[in-house]
């Protein structure tokens, strides 16, 4: 698929590394009941994901005007975060206080917002030709 670009793959790689690091510190923080570790790791994770998305999204847009760039990055973030989180718990890396249901509920609630974004993505698709934004096709 032409819309899976090298910038999106680079973002996915960073997202995987950041999510694994976040999961580690989150579980460690919960295990030791440290609010500071939990909060700090969540903030650093959020900022690093935002910056990675911003940098690689910008590069992707400059490379080709792919329509609704945001959905592709959102979907990648969703799959990476929830996939790793579920595996983390299922493989027994989580703290004893963490429950699988919490991770599943995050995936479900987030999935609802991803679905809304998907509806917008389908709507925005009308303004594209071969996945490129019609408005930015010719110069």
């Amino acid at each position: 698929m032409k819309t899976i670009t090298k910038h999106l793959l680079s973002f996915a790689l960073i997202a995987i590394i950041a999510t694994i690091a976040f999961r580690y510190f989150l579980s460690y923080g919960i295990e030791n009941q440290s609010t500071i570790i939990v909060t700090t790791s969540a903030i650093i994770y959020g900022i690093s994901m935002f910056l990675a998305g911003w940098v690689f999204g910008k590069k992707d847009g400059e490379y080709l005007p792919i329509f609704d760039l945001g959905f592709r990055f959102h979907l990648t973030t969703y799959l990476t975060h929830n996939g790793i989180s579920l595996l983390w718990i299922l493989l027994g890396f989580g703290s004893k206080y963490e429950k699988l249901e919490w991770t599943v509920m995050v995936a479900v609630y987030w999935g609802f917002f991803l679905f809304l974004h998907f509806i917008y993505y389908l709507w925005a698709r009308k303004n594209s030709i071969d996945n490129l934004d019609k408005e930015d096709l010719f110069e």
């Binding site: 490379y63 080709l64 071969d130 996945n131």
Partner: protein
Amino acid sequence: MKNDKKLNELLTSWENTYKKGQLTLWIFMSLQESKKYVDEIKNFIEKKSNGTINCEEQSLYRALRKYEHINVLTHELKEGNKGPDRKYYYLTKLGEELFNQFVNRNIKLFYSNEIKQILKLN
């Protein structure tokens, strides 16, 4: 003198607006003539437009990437004089059809006798 300055400013302003959207036409014209690699396309545009169309390499590469993506042009690799193979771009059938229809609808109208008279081209 003041009028000359104003005329020049107005002309530049109009030309800047007019030139938006021109790059595609010039790229297509250069490839309609023959297969070309990036430097040749750039030279063609600058020479044939008498330097009125600025053709930055980055814009040209981005445009070529887009047109390849939508399948109006493609490339083949040929040996360059030195270094790596060069990408020689050419119009696909879809690209040729698009170019012909664009020219028919937007360029040929300038060549009717009536318009030529208005433009004082006769």
